[in-house]
Symmetry: C2
Subunit: 255 residues, 2 copies
DNA sequence: CTTGACATTGACGCTGCGTCATGGTTTAGA
DNA sequence: TCTAAACCATGACGCAGCGTCAATGTCAAG
């Protein structure tokens, strides 16, 4: 006949499919206090507590934090909606991010397999091309700020197709250079690649021999460049620098 | 001219866009050890370390755990692919789960707004209908195990359409009852809803008056039922019990 | 010689509990 | 009535990946 049911921790925990530990936790942080405490010190929960717990678990399954839940249950429905919308946004962002990660993983797997001839290029293009281009700009600025304007002007004059081609050619130069590591920097093949590098730069501006040498030096000594090239191969920074140095010294840069 | 570059923690940290704390952490867990340590006790990193750090950060951005990363870097490429595929799976599951959560949030918002007449039903249907049906079965079993067989037989004889209808009618009964809370249990409207409840039960088996009373009692006293109904409204369990009691006492159950 | 930037080693904090450890309470069965 | 099985309580550590002091030593520049 009694209208008031009272639960022990285990009973309530089983009801809500949580563990007693969870209830104790909710107690200590004040999210769900026992309705009263028995003479033996045991926690006791009534129907109201059971209902509150249900609500807590509902929001918890939506992945809201306990603090947010506490706020929600303390506020009227009006605020609840705003909170939920906000939470929805957050979840959507997580989804977007996860999609990106999955895409990157797919690319990486292709790269590991070496299944497509483009994979290396694409990884390079998508992952660091931009960064690298920015660095190149910065280095050029160190020698002549006016180059930036010229570079920018030329770049804008290209079609989207041209731009893609130029970027990919730039990336390919370094890839090819890795393949030549160990050769003599003065080797004809090596110098040919350096010449292509030179040509590629000219898509942006007219580098003087000093600038070329400066770039070569920066590729090895400037940590921003060095790390990037070391990412392709640990020996690349030093090799590039020596090859470029040889190139400039040979007078090829002036021709 | 030097070929070997060496970084301090700050320098390397800035390069990789992490904090010195992160490098110290990687050191303590053995993921990335300094290349050597200076006389002053300072950590020193070389190019190889910088490269390794780059790889670590790459995988970290894919949200792999540090331990997994350590394993990846220790293994050849072959195993790396398997790990990535597995990780991809995990990410995909997260996406699926997030989609579910978002859908539930949308439903909940509708529910809060009370914008659709069906929202309550649907929330009820999707969220607890199954659980409730199971409980009802269990209660029946307490009175006569043979009822299970009959109930199961009838249920199987229905079309999918019938089943959906029966479930929704069942849910609606409790919703309607909530709307009548506060009325006299003997009120005609209340008794009409109880009658619908009775009819709904008959879709499963032929409940005797004793069973009906037993169910009413269980709805209030059995925590599994009570919590469920209290979830709809704290006052519902007791109200339902009284209303059913009145219904049976009036002889309506026998007619 | 002073400052300021950087380095070191602890050690606690955060999220939401899981998981002992240690010891008292209740309950059902022999 | 005694005992074993369950259940209760309060700590306190663990986890993942660092963030964030705190206390103290080192180094390069003015």
């Amino acid at each position: 006949m009694s209208n008031t049911y009272s639960y022990t921790v285990k009973q309530l925990a089983d009801l809500a499919s949580v563990t007693p530990r969870t209830l104790r936790h909710y107690d200590t942080i004040g999210l769900l206090r026992p309705s009263f405490i028995g003479d033996n010190g045991y926690r006791r929960y009534d129907e109201a507590a059971a209902l509150r717990l249900q609500q807590i678990r509902f929001y918890r399954e939506l992945d809201l934090g306990l603090e947010e839940i506490a706020a929600l249950l303390a506020q009227p429905d009006f605020d609840a909606e705003a909170t939920l919308r906000q939470h929805r946004e957050a979840l959507q962002q997580r989804v977007d991010r996860l999609h990106q990660l999955i895409a990157t993983i797919d690319k990486t797997i292709l790269h590991l397999r070496g299944q497509t001839e483009m994979s290396t290029d694409e990884l390079f293009a998508g992952f660091d091309e931009e960064t690298q281009a920015r660095y190149e700009q910065e280095a050029a600025e160190m020698y002549d700020p006016k180059i930036v304007a010229e570079s920018s002007r030329r770049w804008k004059s290209y079609t989207a197709e041209d731009r893609t081609r130029i970027q990919r050619e730039g990336g390919q130069v370094y890839q090819d250079m890795v393949a030549l590591l160990g050769r003599d920097p003065a080797d004809a093949d090596v110098q040919a690649v350096v010449a292509r590098w030179h040509q590629n730069l000219r898509a942006f501006y007219e580098p003087t021999p000093d600038i070329l040498r400066g770039l070569g030096h920066a590729y090895e000594e400037d940590p921003r460049f060095a790390t990037f090239f070391a990412g392709l191969h640990p020996g690349l920074p030093a090799f590039l620098n020596r090859a470029i140095d040889t190139y400039v010294a040979s007078g090829a840069a002036g021709r």
